[in-house]
Point group: C2
Chain length 412, copies 2
């Protein structure tokens, strides 16, 4: 693994100096190769799927693992979208001339070596490589064992395309060792890895955050709430809750919990619980919620902490905006929190006082997404506060450097 | 310690909503109180100094620990400088209206709870508190045992002043337990501490980086080089090296190593070695350097890695700009690196290819400093690449939050 780190570091130096034109040429080559080599990729993917089925992977996991000709051309399309984004490297962020004549310029530069640990989906291999190439970084990709054949096929094609464009092969390296040890080594590679981005389930992320000695951007765990305020327009509230919960329950920006103000509970609850039931959502609620329905299970404290990622939701009746904010700040995961309200003051206070990367006012939590935010791409959603918060992409893969130009100045 | 974290979290919510006027009033109160209570602070400091002397602390440590009436008014002056800085909180960093009508605004918000672990100097207690107050954060300050009485006196006065201004007392908390356990607990306080900033020696920083589960901004270790290029103007090179090494040898932006291009070694070395010797600097060099002087000790690989923080320097003759860049990227600590050159291309390549927070061209490494960069204050110098790089202050104590305003949008 140290050898992979060493090679990445050498490649990173060349990548930092690569022009936008060359990087875009490499990306165009990758997009082309994806389409041309679709059959070979699908063969490799079939091998993963067959092994996965024989090992009894869940339907959801197999679905995430599956590539089709359509999915491959979507992945190629995403690479072309990255070409269209502006190159962040070299942007002058600020600068000043000091009284002693020193000219100080702060310029955007690549991070260097970006490592990523991720689960089943093979498209992440291409998305991450494309964003790292565009931002002038070398990357080390550690995908999961379930997708290893697909990932190997994709990495081979990516490495071929970047060499064709004149960039170093080792700018993109796939870690073929999918043991736990390779994760453990990667997260302790100080001096080689400039940032480690774990993308996956809560256990993976906790493991990395607890054990890493390299800087980490934490992503993704989302216990997202929708709070239906006393002044909510019920005709907005119901569709927002239903969309936030059921549009795609397995992702981090899906809602896991609903808080309803007591003043509108009689209006909201019967309709909301009926709609949830109609969509097969299991509801776990407090006593006040259970008064509206016989099928609501009693919620435990753990239910209010849970990221179900499934058709299950916790519901609670609250007495005030303050109680809602306090509950969210106690149980939330700093991801995305929504309020449905027609009250200006409540919207302002919720936006100011809820501690989260994204606050939605009268909109579904599902909009917390790089594409929906217009970033053009996304490497993850940061739930920590350092460096990048919320959906992040190219800019979060850069850092800055101060270049100071003088004429012999010394400090008095 | 968890209780301290809990109180900080409550205070952080009030601080996030505090107006600039109230925060500045608190800072003005602190500056006033420092001057009015100077005698009590000096008494507490005397207690620390007496205990330090009886325990045999080094002269250098005792000096860093010592407060005088002049130093106290400098500290008060630094607080007034922070008042003059613009409040970063509430700044709109960006925003857009999406095709579906969602208005997305990215706004600067405080981090929340900032924890700081630092060594002897009691002024850090005031500087850190002032920057955290201005940026709307609550802070947890864990100073060293050697300064505990001074820190307690300062914290008392700070807490009194912030309460007078209407802010919560627990916005500034001093950890009075100065055992190793309090450091160990602080760095694992996920859910309470949003960022931990260690400021001190290499051992403290390594310890924190290796063991922390909360996000960390790494500061300060500086194995800074001055590279004297083939085209260097010798009349600039000698003063820059002498200034970088001897102006204040105990700080992180002092030079620890000099690389001299072979082409100018005959010109530079005799003069440089004589000047260093005249200032009592011990030189450890390679064979080529030792050919110029009998008193140069043979350098080991460890010498080239060392942050001496003292009147010792490593010297090496290199054959090319490439060799200099490679040496720096292998032995440097990503802090500050200088080149002395009259060659445009060499300056450009050095600035682009050296991996460091600050690159100095024809200027002393000693300029890598918040004050010298015009930031108005400094909480440390970041040697990591995430979030903040180089000298950092108020802005690094903030994060951002996306506020999305809609009218009932759901995702299709």
């Amino acid at each position: 693994m140290i050898e992979i780190g060493r090679r990445a570091k050498v490649a990173a130096r060349a990548m930092a100096g690569a022009s936008s034109a060359v990087k875009d040429e490499a990306l165009a080559g990758i997009a082309r190769a994806l389409e041309e080599a679709a059959d070979a990729i699908l063969d490799a993917n079939t091998a993963d799927l067959e092994r996965g089925e024989s090992e009894g992977l869940s339907r959801a996991l197999l679905d995430r693992l599956t590539l089709t000709p359509e999915r491959i051309s979507q992945i190629a399309g995403a690479v072309r979208d990255v070409i269209a984004l502006p190159d962040p490297v070299g942007e002058v962020i600020g600068g000043t001339r000091r009284p002693n004549g020193l000219d100080i310029v702060e310029v955007r530069v690549p991070l260097g070596v970006v490592a990523m640990i991720y689960e089943a989906r093979p498209n992440v291999t291409v998305d991450a490589a494309a964003l790292c190439i565009k931002s002038g970084n070398a990357c080390i990709l550690r995908g999961s064992r379930t997708a290893i054949e697909s990932n190997k096929a994709l990495a081979r094609l990516i490495r071929h395309a970047i060499v064709e464009a004149g960039l170093p092969e080792d700018a993109v390296q796939l870690v073929e060792d999918t043991s736990h040890e390779s994760v453990a080594e990667l997260m302790r590679m100080r001096g080689y890895v400039d940032v480690l981005i774990p993308r996956g389930g809560a256990d993976l992320i906790r493991n990395v955050v607890e054990g890493a000695s390299v800087p980490v951007i934490e992503t993704g765990v989302g216990n997202c709430h929708v709070y239906v305020d006393a002044s909510a327009d019920v005709s907005k509230a119901i569709p927002i809750v239903i969309n936030a919960k059921t549009h795609r329950p397995s992702v981090c920006n899906a809602a896991e919990s609903v808080l309803v103000h007591r003043a509108v509970a009689d209006d909201v609850m019967p309709k909301l619980l009926a709609e949830l039931a109609a969509r097969g959502v299991e509801v776990r609620g407090d006593d006040a919620t259970r008064a509206y329905s016989d099928v609501v299970v009693a919620a435990t404290d753990d239910d209010y902490r849970a990221e179900f990622l499934d058709l299950t939701i916790s519901v609670k009746v609250v007495g005030s905006l303050d109680e809602a904010i306090e509950h969210i700040n106690a149980y939330g995961t700093l991801h995305t929190e929504a309020i449905v309200t027609e009250d200006y003051g409540a919207a302002q206070r919720f936006a100011a006082e809820v501690d989260a990367a994204c606050v939605m006012i009268n909109a579904s939590t599902r909009f917390a997404d790089g594409g929906e935010f217009g970033l053009g791409a996304e490497i993850g959603i940061s739930t920590q506060k350092l460096h990048a918060r919320g959906p992040f992409a190219l800019e979060a893969l850069t850092t800055s450097k101060y270049v100071v130009r003088g004429s012999g100045q010394v400090r008095e």
